[in-house]
């Protein structure tokens, strides 16, 4: 199990760093609920807005 963990942690870390380096940064960390019209943590719209 230790070997599996080493592989998973290293692959995960490479994926995180790689994604960060090739993707644009939005500046301040955000959540979908920061956007206008969001009615839930995932950014779903309010039922009354449909």
């Amino acid at each position: 199990m230790r070997k599996v963990y080493i592989v998973v942690v290293l692959l995960g870390l490479v994926a995180i760093v790689g994604n960060h380096l090739i993707s644009p940064s939005s500046g301040r960390a955000m959540s979908p609920e920061d956007f206008a019209g969001a009615c839930a943590p995932c950014g779903a719209p309010c039922p009354s807005k449909k």
């Binding site: 199990m1 230790r2 599996v4 963990y5 080493i6 998973v8 942690v9 870390l13 995180i16 760093v17 994604n19 960060h20 993707s23 644009p24 940064s25 939005s26 500046g27 301040r28 960390a29 955000m30 959540s31 979908p32 609920e33 920061d34 956007f35 206008a36 019209g37 969001a38 009615c39 839930a40 943590p41 995932c42 950014g43 779903a44 719209p45 309010c46 039922p47 009354s48």
Partner: protein
């Protein structure tokens, strides 16, 4: 230092330090901190540090929502549930008034409707099969459980399926979020929120007394509950919203699916502005992912600091199957239910949002079903 020395746990005075995994956890955390600080984002660093603290607190206190809820449902024991309410009460003291009074801060809100009920119920089934909820999966994976690695993998996959299903379930209808502070103001909303927690605690104690079961939280749950509650406040202060776990899983899964060639441009969920941006932005721009990474590595550091890391054998295949099925159900349920026991229940109730209690009421019967299914996978009902 040789590789052999690094891979051998260092045992002194009865404490076994696994230097390899302790080092790995600390180095990984340092790399993530360096990346966000290089971008000039101290708040992101604070989220990682908050998550790291949460990982340590959960692991050291062995704070388990899943086991607490199961003990309550099967034996009537209420201590664990009350420990969870301590977390919410502490968090509410900051979230309700600050979210109502300060710009750039907000509570965890969500619409009430079939999607919430179905999602929470499904999540309840999944958490008992996987033997871990949103936070539980994170800290047990970080703590070295190979079984929960499987649960996390399927949690991530399930949450992507959930993101594709959510718009259809939202179309079934619902009503806008009901927030106590919208009706009673910041302080009246806080009073109502604390009163609702007190009523829930009284009901839980009454059930425990009626069943002749223990209702006092253990020392671990009291200290752990206070520590986790304070860390929730820190995460809220840094991120502007209550702590959430499972949205990060959805982003990780969607990024992996995208890398494998899946096109999300036709998926309604991924056209909502926040999700569209999150899919293309750095994973370190997502508040939920930042605390998740911190929590994973915090739990790993805490586990490796005291014992050989991940030294147990893999569990039986049926147990791994339960972890996979449970993870899948939790992932799907978390998206439909607007979060897990942290994002929806803890965050929702601590924000004074009615959906938090509705989520709890729908997840409990799901847990009952999950407990009944556990023996099919060779797991005990206790």
């Amino acid at each position: 230092m040789s590789t052999a020395a690094l891979s051998t746990p260092d045992t002194r005075a009865g404490v076994s330090v696994d230097r390899l995994f302790l080092g790995l956890a600390l180095i990984a955390t340092a790399i993530l901190l360096a990346l966000v600080l290089l971008d000039g984002q101290p708040a992101s660093a604070a989220l990682i540090v908050g998550g790291f603290g949460l990982g340590i607190a959960f692991l050291k206190a062995e704070f388990s929502y899943t086991a607490s809820w199961r003990r309550f449902l099967t034996r009537g024991e209420a201590g664990g549930l009350l420990g969870g309410l301590i977390v919410i009460a502490i968090c509410a003291l900051a979230v309700v008034p600050v979210a109502a009074l300060r710009q750039n801060f907000g509570g965890a809100i969500a619409p009430l409707g079939p999607s919430l009920l179905i999602g929470a119920f499904t999540f309840g089934i999944g958490m008992q099969l996987a033997n871990g909820c949103g936070s539980g999966t994170l800290y047990t994976v970080g703590g070295g459980s190979g079984r929960m690695l499987i649960a996390l993998l399927f949690f991530v996959i399930g949450s992507v399926f959930g993101s594709l299903s959510l718009p259809s379930f939202l179309a079934l209808g619902g009503i806008d979020p009901i927030l106590a502070s919208d009706y009673l103001g910041p302080w009246g909303g806080l009073a109502a929120t604390l009163a609702s927690i007190a009523v829930a605690a009284a009901l839980i104690v009454a059930v425990a007394k009626r069943r002749g079961a223990n209702y006092m939280p253990s020392r671990n749950y009291i200290i752990g509950g206070i520590a986790i509650g304070l860390l929730c406040v820190e995460v809220f202060a840094a991120g502007g919203h209550p702590w959430s776990v499972t949205y990060g899983y959805t982003i990780w899964g969607a990024k992996i699916f995208s890398a494998l060639g899946y096109d999300f441009s036709h998926a309604n969920f991924w056209q909502w502005p926040g999700n569209k941006q999150a899919l293309t932005s750095s994973v370190l721009s997502d508040t939920s992912s930042l605390t998740d990474f911190g929590m994973l590595f915090g739990a790993m550091a805490a586990a490796a600091a005291t014992k050989p890391f991940a030294a147990t054998a893999w569990p039986p295949l049926k147990s791994l199957l339960a972890a996979g099925v449970g993870g899948l159900l939790m992932g799907w349920g978390a998206r439909l239910g607007f979060g897990c026991n942290i994002g929806a229940f803890v965050g929702g109730v601590a924000s004074g949002s009615l959906h938090g209690w509705v989520w709890f009421a729908a997840a409990l019967p799901g847990c009952l079903i999950g407990i009944r299914l556990r023996p099919l996978f060779g797991l005990s009902r206790d």
